[in-house]
């Protein structure tokens, strides 16, 4: 358990500094591209070589650090793929020039640890620095790392985030594997198609985490992960999670679902919903973020802002009941590629 002091997100929606998510930005060719701000704090000399994943992580981190001036003792990033764009560009060179003289910039920037590395470089932070790359649970592993760091160092603060870009190279791989829609759709109708696949997305959601409740947005009470495609195993895991972490007198009042329009995955989400009370408010977020390895970070950003009373949930997110209640206990359930499942229980500050 720890507190989320603050969070900033760069995503395909207006989530950055002046948050406005009432209006839904539309996808193009089954792709929701992250909107990049003007990077005021970044020298162009540094920016020019950076991959998109590095830029958006830095952009989000710098705003976060501007708003929170305490020192932080580590940078922990979860990223499924790092920069496939830079990888792709290097591969293009390799093939085009037949392993001849190649420029090294793309190679250096292609590694996922370039994200945490650049944040360290630009903020001159020599502390703990790590990149978790376990695909759909990369963000959750980063969170677990911070949970342990806070147990080991209770008075520290940590900068943690989930970051992924979806380049054309990466899109091709996931598309051929069948994870995106065959037909071009609009994110406005993501959940209505009844077909397989979703749409691609990308984003950087960064957080400052600590054991310090003051001026926090929300409390991450607990989280868990499971790797399976067995619906029954997942159901039991969810039941166990809720019974351990939620006292009998409390209940989940908002369910944030990682439904992504892929009808093959609906069975898991419905199974989870059936475990919760009938009248519970249920919202979805992937029509805003698109699907990518660390999309659950977007969901956490959303939950924190809702619990911190910074934003209201837009109508377009609600699956069922629409209301403006002051939510207290949010359950986030996300699945990546049908096998990597995560659950987070996020609570309002008491």
């Amino acid at each position: 358990m720890f507190y989320i002091n603050d969070t900033v997100c760069i995503s395909p929606q207006n989530t950055f500094s002046d948050i406005n998510i009432e209006i839904l930005k539309e996808s193009e060719n089954n792709f929701l591209k992250a909107l990049e701000p003007i990077y005021d704090g970044l020298p162009h000399n540094a920016l020019r070589r950076m991959s998109k994943s590095v830029r958006i992580a830095l952009g989000a981190s710098l705003l976060l650090l501007e708003r929170n001036t305490q020192t932080y003792e580590g940078i922990i990033i979860g990223s499924g793929n790092g920069s496939m764009e830079e990888t792709g560009k290097f591969l293009d060179q390799l093939i085009e020039y037949n392993e001849g003289m190649l420029t090294p910039g793309n190679f250096v920037q292609s590694s996922p640890n370039a994200i945490a590395g650049q944040i360290s470089l630009l903020t001159k932070n020599k502390n703990y620095n790590i990149t978790h790359v376990h695909k759909g649970l990369a963000f959750e592993n980063a969170m677990l790392d911070v949970a342990m760091l806070l147990k080991e160092n209770p008075s520290n603060h940590y900068l943690m985030g989930g970051v992924d870009e979806t380049s054309s190279y990466h899109y091709q791989l996931d598309d051929q594997e069948g994870w995106y829609k065959n037909e071009t759709i609009s994110n406005n109708h993501l959940y209505e198609t009844g077909s397989e696949g979703s749409i691609a997305g990308e984003g950087a959601a960064m957080f400052i985490l600590s054991n310090n409740k003051d001026n926090s947005l929300a409390k991450l009470q607990s989280f868990t992960t499971v790797h399976t495609s067995d619906k029954q195993v997942v159901k039991e895991k969810i039941q166990q999670f809720l019974s351990i972490n939620l006292p009998p007198e409390e209940k989940i009042d908002l369910f944030i679902s990682g439904e992504n329009g892929d009808e093959r995955l609906l069975k898991y989400y419905l199974s989870c919903e059936n475990l919760l009370e009938n009248e519970i408010a249920s919202v979805r977020f992937k029509h805003m973020s698109g699907e990518y390895s660390t999309a659950s970070a977007f969901a956490l950003w959303l939950a924190c802002n809702v619990l911190g009373r910074k934003i209201s949930i837009p109508k377009h997110c609600f699956k069922n009941k629409t209301s403006e209640e002051n939510y207290k206990n949010i359950l986030i359930y996300n699945i990546y590629k049908g096998e990597q499942h995560s659950l987070m229980l996020v609570k309002e500050l008491d």
Partner: protein, 89 residues
């Protein structure tokens, strides 16, 4: 090619290759490429060595030797003209 024309071309190529946020008239002929001046780094020097090969056919095996050529646009242009000069012999 005349030296002035070459320098202008070179500046454009450097800007494009290194993705610099400048125009050609913002780079002085004698402005140091590394350290003060353009502020390029070791990765840039390797990239410029590749530029010299791809655009001018110049192969520089030792990056340290490369730094002697990559001082500013003047030295780069001189080297290229000298190289082309020896090529025609």
């Amino acid at each position: 090619m005349e030296k002035e024309e070459l320098k202008e071309q070179l500046k454009g190529q450097i800007i494009k290759f290194l993705n610099l946020d400048k125009t050609t008239d913002q780079i002085k002929d004698d402005e140091p490429l590394f350290g003060e001046g353009l502020g390029l780094d070791s990765i840039d020097s390797l990239e410029l060595i590749v530029l010299l090969q791809r655009e001018y056919g110049i192969v520089i095996q030792d990056p340290k030797e490369g730094r002697k050529i990559l001082v500013d646009v003047n030295t780069m242009a001189d080297y290229i003209l000298n190289f082309k000069g020896t090529q025609t012999l």
